[in-house]
């Protein structure tokens, strides 16, 4: 059994991964849902059947060249903290974190492929990429899926496509999504109309970990909802088009804010810096919201000495499970708040306060 924490890429390294448009698009993901023919879906199958399916699927996934030297484990062998860390890294879903015997995870070295076994469907495989790389993610997971279909017999119907436990995933079984950092649109109070028009196009907008317009850290997930009656490249392309428009709106909102309400922008970012650099107790939620403003400050050139990767690293390491992992004793929420503030202060020690007259921000990525 591999140790998960020796296996996982360090947060510092994760934060330094770059992709196109990553000042706004934090990551891209394409997920496919597949099921094995002649077996009940995981939610309905009895435990022995689920275990049997896991035993069939797991070696097949492990044998793929992409998954060489992967981390492969049954969910009942992972502790609650480990599962939560995987959730915070978006490597597994919350639903999968709640699974135990009969479910499994196969994760590749680079953390670019994560295959959940017996989540809602027998197979939930996803390709992850930094920045805006939906096509690349689709091509990668398409290839993985094609290799896997030679080893496993999928439940497929010529009319209905890939058969899934929930009819909302029927057909292609695809969910294409991107995680967007949109502080400009939130500050300019333009986010709600944007969400509404995106919804009208049949796409879903969710917060970092949930629904609601006030997303934690101004991070929003945009994804397709329809999976039947449209092929995969079309779905990917449609989402890409919408994303490029959202990116444009976000860039415009940032420009306009700086021109029309520079004081508001400096005030928000200055206060965020002030609190993060000086607080002695801070919750995970407040940290995320303030780090978002710090990230905006970096993008706008207000922190000449600081790299965006520092903010992105803190975004991950200040979350509850990541924080808890660094300490052997079980921490209470209050204790975590103290330790979190200590860590953030320490990391911002050498970051100078924001400059007031930033150089013109480069719009290039």
């Amino acid at each position: 059994m591999k140790d998960l924490h020796e296996f996982l890429v360090s947060p510092a390294e994760t934060a330094r991964r770059h992709g196109p448009h990553d000042r706004i698009v934090m990551s891209s993901r394409v997920r496919l849902a597949r099921n094995i023919r002649d077996a009940a879906f995981p939610g309905w199958a009895k435990k022995p059947e689920r275990v049997k399916i896991l035993e069939t699927i797991r070696p097949a996934v492990e044998s793929l060249p992409e998954m060489k030297d992967s981390f492969s484990e049954a969910m009942d062998n992972l502790g609650a903290l480990d599962k939560q860390i995987l959730v915070e890294r978006h490597l597994i879903s919350r639903e999968h974190a709640a699974k135990s015997a009969g479910s499994g995870l196969v994760l590749n070295r680079e953390e670019t492929f994560s295959v959940m076994i017996n989540e809602e469907d027998h197979l939930r495989m996803q390709a992850l990429r930094p920045g805006l790389q939906l096509k690349q993610a689709w091509n990668a997971i398409d290839h993985l899926d094609s290799e896997l279909e030679r080893k496993l017999e999928y439940a497929f119907d010529t009319d209905l496509g890939y058969l899934t436990a929930c009819p909302t995933n029927l057909g292609t079984g695809i969910r294409v999504s991107a995680m967007l950092h949109l502080p400009g649109l939130v500050l300019a109070e333009q986010i709600n109309p944007i969400i509404q028009s995106v919804n009208k196009l049949g796409l879903a907008v969710r917060g970092l970990y949930g629904e609601g317009t006030e997303a934690l850290g101004n991070v929003f997930q945009v994804s397709n909802q329809m999976t039947l009656g449209e092929n995969e490249p079309m779905i990917v392309e449609r989402l890409e088009k919408v994303l490029s428009q959202i990116i444009e709106h976000e860039e415009n909102a940032r420009q306009t804010l700086l021109e029309k309400k520079p004081k508001t922008v400096y005030n928000h970012i200055g206060r965020a810096y002030g609190i993060l650099a000086n607080a002695h107790s801070i919750s995970s939620k407040e940290t995320m919201n303030l780090l978002s403003l710090l990230r905006l400050g970096v993008d706008l050139g207000l922190f000449p000495g600081m790299e965006r990767s520092l903010v992105d690293e803190l975004f991950l390491t200040t979350q509850p499970a990541h924080l808890q992992k660094q300490y052997s004793d079980k921490l209470t929420a209050e204790e975590r708040d103290l330790i979190r503030s200590d860590m953030v202060r320490e990391r911002l020690k050498n970051v100078s306060r924001p400059v007031i007259k930033p150089p013109p921000p480069s719009t290039a990525n």
């Binding site: 639903e95 279909e149 010529t158 436990a165 009819p167 879903a204 949930g210 629904e211 329809m226 009656g229």
Partner: protein
């Protein structure tokens, strides 16, 4: 206000989702909200929930009140009502009549046009599929359902123009 799911306890969780021009509202009690994962928003979509409820109503109608049961896995319409998920691949055949309308509202179309497993892309399957489509087309024309007929005609055209069996078929 009563909970839309159990219809017993008072509703304290109120959800609204706007899809297109339609606004959907759902009122749930604490327990049903929890069991449906409303407090776990990452794994929850109102659409799924609405679908589950809507589907069971449609299935109720389709089954004429009788309890439909999947011969393969024993999954019943009551189970579907509870979870919004199906039991196995065969369930799609068992509950198909009730699902048709829902798929139409949930998705862009009711027929899969994307990727297919390589093994199923042989010319024989193509022929089978063409045959089935032709049959549907005849039916649609008889029923004067011209919108569907036009769609089917396009699909047949697309399918018969494909060089079988090719690697990029059905993409």
């Amino acid at each position: 206000m009563q909970c839309s799911i159990c219809k017993e306890k008072p509703a304290t969780v109120h959800l609204t989702q706007i899809v297109g021009d339609k606004m959907q509202k759902l009122d749930l009690c604490e327990d049903c909200a929890k069991s449906k994962g409303v407090n776990d928003p990452a794994g929850f979509a109102l659409a799924d929930l609405m679908l589950g409820l809507g589907a069971s109503q449609e299935i109720d109608q389709a089954a004429g009140g009788s309890e439909l049961k999947c011969p393969r896995c024993g999954f019943t319409q009551a189970d579907f009502k509870k979870s919004g998920r199906l039991g196995c691949a065969e369930c799609y055949k068992t509950f198909f009549d009730g699902l048709g309308g829902l798929l139409k509202t949930m998705h862009k179309g009711t027929r899969h046009v994307g990727k297919a497993p390589e093994a199923l892309k042989g010319s024989r399957d193509n022929a089978d599929r063409l045959k089935a489509l032709q049959k549907k087309l005849t039916k649609a024309i008889e029923a004067e359902n011209f919108e569907e007929a036009a769609q089917l005609r396009d699909e047949i055209k697309q399918l018969s123009e494909r060089p079988a069996p090719s690697k990029n078929l059905a993409r």
